[in-house]
């Protein structure tokens, strides 16, 4: 299918501007439950056309890529835009189309993997759970390889195409001992299947599951809290991604509005958006409007430096996009971080623990996504943690709710930044140590 042709067709039908976005995905995955429970391979092509008639816009997405399917999508988009009320803030679509160098983002073996190719990795993952602890059982998990290709063109230029691959595995392990149950889950994510750490992941899940058989509860109170790197990875984007989106800032939904140049966090904190970093999951050569990406400092030594923009929000302020447009095939672009990177500090994980007198080391949480990025109130429910007493990990605990103002935690509450960065898709951060965090429990 030809995206330029679709753009031209929209203009013929009366659009003043048009952009076309074509997305192809291919995925092979195994669902694991003790053994390989199920397997699938899926190929999918989706097409989106967004048009402007003057200052009125509309988007139509379709998965019918036949000539008539595309024609009907283009017609439908133009006819909706004709009757839509104008957006007085609309200026124009992206006029600067290009690419940045982000290194190799595509691995052929991962893109073409069959279920059989995934099997040895799945076996290694399942078997290594027992290596972690002989009584541990792998209860649920999955292994996925995925390839994605995106092509963009608009009235002003293109097409540009990018492609990437990704591989992901996850395992939940369980140990039953004298009527008590211990569980733990671990994952690994990489650009290619070959780089997945299946063995290490399984061993970690199995051995931790055993430790949590005897998990006690956390007494209600205030603690020094250490978030393990993977917990930092899950907490930071929930609060920060929406808050630094220029759209939320402009529309009055960000607590960071009006705070550029102000000290919003401890000087130990530097946060970057790795839009065009080499070999980073989430970095890409151009954003979802064809604009070349770049690395951008969001918070430099505690000072808020920048928000992220797409073309629409940039035009509203008469500035250039930061190359942060993100979209689905049938949704409007919105500004969003590519890869949130919290710069590592000096302390090793062991040093952080040894500096903790009366604390909780948080290994895993659920529900952190229910935190409130508008008020800045953070909530996360602890499923796995350890009490830390006088510099030593004392005993496993579970169940408790961490609650507090995210920005206060990262400003006066922040004590130490680790050097043990964990790279996940779209985020990388080290372990962090906070003072005086409220934990509600039994």
């Amino acid at each position: 299918m030809n995206v330029e042709k679709a753009v031209k067709r929209a203009v013929e039908l009366g659009a003043s501007e048009a952009e076309a976005f074509l997305l192809s995905t291919a995925e092979t995955s195994l669902t694991l439950a003790g053994d390989v429970e199920a397997s699938k391979t899926v190929r999918m092509k989706s097409f989106g056309i967004r048009v402007a008639v003057g200052k009125s816009t509309a988007i139509v997405g379709t998965q019918d890529l036949s000539e008539t399917g595309v024609e009907s999508a283009v017609r439908s988009a133009v006819s909706i835009a004709r009757v839509s009320p104008p957006d007085p803030r609309w200026v124009r679509m992206n006029e600067r189309i290009g690419t940045s160098d982000v290194g190799e983002t595509f691995d052929k073996a991962t893109a073409e993997a069959t279920p059989e190719d995934l099997l040895p990795i799945a076996r290694e993952l399942l078997d290594s759970v027992k290596e972690g602890c002989s009584e541990a059982k792998p209860i649920r998990g999955f292994l996925t390889s995925r390839a994605m290709e995106a092509t963009y063109a608009n009235t002003y230029g293109g097409p540009v195409t990018r492609r990437e691959t990704m591989a992901f595995l996850y395992i939940d392990a369980r140990v039953d001992e004298a009527g008590e149950v211990g569980t733990y889950s671990e994952y690994s994510i990489a650009r290619s299947l070959r780089r997945l750490e299946a063995g290490k992941t399984g061993v970690e899940a199995g051995s931790r599951a055993r430790e949590f058989v005897k998990a006690g509860s956390i007494p209600n109170g205030k603690y020094e809290v250490v978030t393990l790197n993977r917990v930092s990875d899950s907490l930071l984007p929930v609060m920060l991604s929406p808050a630094v989106s220029a759209l939320n800032v402009q529309e009055g939904r960000s607590p960071l509005a009006g705070k550029i140049g102000m000290e919003i966090m401890s000087e130990k904190i530097t946060i970057e958006d790795f839009g065009s970093n080499v070999n980073t999951l989430g970095s890409k050569p151009f954003d979802d409007e064809g604009f070349p990406t770049r690395n951008l400092t969001i918070v430099g030594k505690g000072v808020l430096n920048a928000f992220v923009y797409d073309t629409y929000t940039a035009n509203r302020e008469g500035r250039e996009s930061t190359g942060n447009a993100s979209r689905g095939y049938s949704t409007a672009p919105r500004p969003s971080l590519h890869h949130l990177h919290l710069k590592p500090g000096e302390a090793t994980f062991e040093e952080i623990i040894s500096e903790t007198r009366n604390g909780v080391l948080v290994m895993s949480t659920i529900g952190e996504w229910m935190s409130n990025p508008v008020s800045g109130h953070l909530n996360a429910t602890i499923t796995h943690a350890y009490m830390v007493e006088n510099g030593e990990i004392a005993r496993p605990v579970k169940n408790g709710v961490i609650s507090g103002n995210f920005y206060e935690m990262l400003k006066d509450g922040l004590d130490m930044v680790g050097n043990d960065t964990r790279y996940d898709y779209g985020v990388s951060a080290p372990s962090l140590k906070f003072r005086n965090v409220v934990i509600a429990s039994k």
Binding site: A38, K40, I59, V60, R174, V374, V401, S403, V438
Partner: protein, 462 residues
């Protein structure tokens, strides 16, 4: 054409030596209008159509799908499904089911496609403006969502079922400011119905109500952290049941040992006041007449007077657990294979009036679903969490003051055993904007119940 391709896929798969084939065709249209601070920010329409093929080959399941709607691609999908089956585990026994044929349609008096785009935009715009009309509210987003879903399942053992459903709803979110503080409150109302549902409600009043609540909430304190007695409204009961209990009753999690309810059938796991049902056609809920394996959805009594009676199953899990096939094997869309999911999961009513429950609670918190953002559970350990909307502190048997930022956590079994009173009201709701996520699949669901008093929940506060 989709039906024809499904039949073709079935035919090819049988020739290639499969012992069972299930072909699912689907066509979905979704319309979304987003008004942001008085301006139409997005009007999108999405059309998707395709075919999913699941085969049973040498005693193993394999799945593949395509949206390239021609015979060649369907054949390729069948071959890929067979190749997927080669690596899957052997299935010892499949649950028996009756092969049914039939066509189902949800109630829809006025088709949304007969309503003009202008009318849809103008209605959403009016609701948004009403939400912005209140002093203190500086940001408001309103969305109108309309989904039309057609699903068709044909199988080699004689199933031939199709349904068409319409789901629509309006959602609104207001952000209030007060003395440097900000708070957001969002809510939505949806129904499986036609445009008459939208016409039958005053949406300007609906969004104004949300703005008023946001204005109150921004001034409200956080609750005291710790253990509190809780009264949950029907929406919160739905959310708690779905997260804290429903997932643990899904047959796949039970059979793999990923549920703390594994092996507990017949035992008392809840207070005797508790009866819980999963029903694909409950009023107010989502519309699931049959599942994506082509099983007719049966009403399942999961808990009866506190005793665990059954789990939700598909054919594979029914076979593993020696239970009837309950028709809960659902797929997000044609690109996914079916997994065990809830449909409309709710608690049945008893005898208490609302005021009576609050009076009996004495001291505690009245948690409300309006403004809640969801929940999550770790089924293996039994820990769950959910966020409530602005809620009320209960003091001396009366509602005292509003609190915000209420996050609840608890453990599945303790919570259900701690149910001390169940109301006589019943409300089940669904959503045109979200759903429940499991194994990277999103499913539309419904949930609810009456007002319920729970002995104790952990409340995160400040």
């Amino acid at each position: 054409m989709l039906k024809e391709l499904a039949a073709y896929g079935l035919n090819i798969a049988e020739k290639l030596g499969t012992t069972y084939v299930e072909a699912r065709a689907q066509r979905t249209n979704y319309e979304l209008i987003t008004i942001d601070n008085g301006v139409l920010k997005e009007f999108s329409k999405t059309f998707s159509a395709g075919l999913g093929i699941r085969v049973f080959y040498n005693g193993r399941f394999g799945f593949s799908s395509t949206n390239d709607l021609n015979r060649e691609s369907v054949k390729e999908a069948v071959e890929k499904a067979i190749s997927a089956a080669r690596v899957s585990r052997k299935v010892e026994k499949l649950g028996e089911r009756e092969a049914c044929k039939g066509v189902f349609k949800s109630d829809c008096r006025k088709k949304p496609e007969d309503v003009s785009d202008e009318e849809k935009v103008s209605l959403t715009l009016e609701a948004n403006k009403a939400g912005l009309s209140l002093e203190g509210v500086k940001s408001a987003v309103t969305r109108l969502g309309v989904q039309r879903d057609w699903r068709y399942v044909v199988t080699s053992d004689g199933v031939d079922l199709e349904y068409e459903s319409t789901l629509l709803g309006l959602g609104h979110m207001s952000v209030a400011f007060k003395a440097g503080a900000m708070e957001r409150v969002g809510d939505q109302e949806s129904a499986v119905a036609g445009w008459e549902f939208i016409e039958g409600k005053n949406w300007a009043e609906f969004s104004l109500g949300i703005s008023k609540l946001a204005n109150e909430a921004v001034k409200a304190p956080l609750p005291p952290p710790g253990r509190l007695k809780a009264v949950a409204d029907p929406e919160m009961v739905g959310l708690i049941l779905h997260e804290a209990f429903g997932h643990a009753c899904e047959g796949d999690l039970v059979s793999s040992g990923d549920s703390i309810l594994s092996g507990r059938l017949g035992s008392e796991i809840a207070s005797p006041l508790v009866t819980i049902v999963d029903d694909g056609l409950a009023e107010g809920g989502y519309f699931v007449p049959f599942d994506d394996e082509g099983n007719i959805k049966r009403r399942v009594v999961v808990v009866e007077n506190g005793v665990l009676k059954s789990f939700m199953t598909g054919r594979e899990t029914a076979g593993m657990l020696n239970l009837p096939v309950s028709g809960n094997s659902r797929a997000q869309d044609f690109t996914h294979f079916p997994i065990v999911r809830q449909t409309n999961f709710f608690m049945t009513p008893r005898d208490h009036g609302f005021e009576e429950i609050i009076r009996e609670a004495g001291e505690g918190v009245y948690i409300l679903g309006r403004g809640a953002t969801g929940g999550q559970v770790d089924t293996a350990s039994g820990t769950f969490t959910f966020s409530a909307g602005p809620s009320w502190i209960i003091r001396n048997g009366e509602l005292a003051e509003l609190v915000r930022g209420v996050v609840i956590s608890g453990s599945i079994l303790e919570t259900l055993k701690g149910v001390e009173a169940v109301g006589r009201d019943l409300r089940i709701t669904t959503s045109a904007f979200g759903g429940c996520g499991k194994d990277n699949q999103l499913a539309r669901v419904g949930d609810g119940g009456p007002h319920v008093m729970i002995r104790e929940l952990i409340v995160g506060g400040g």
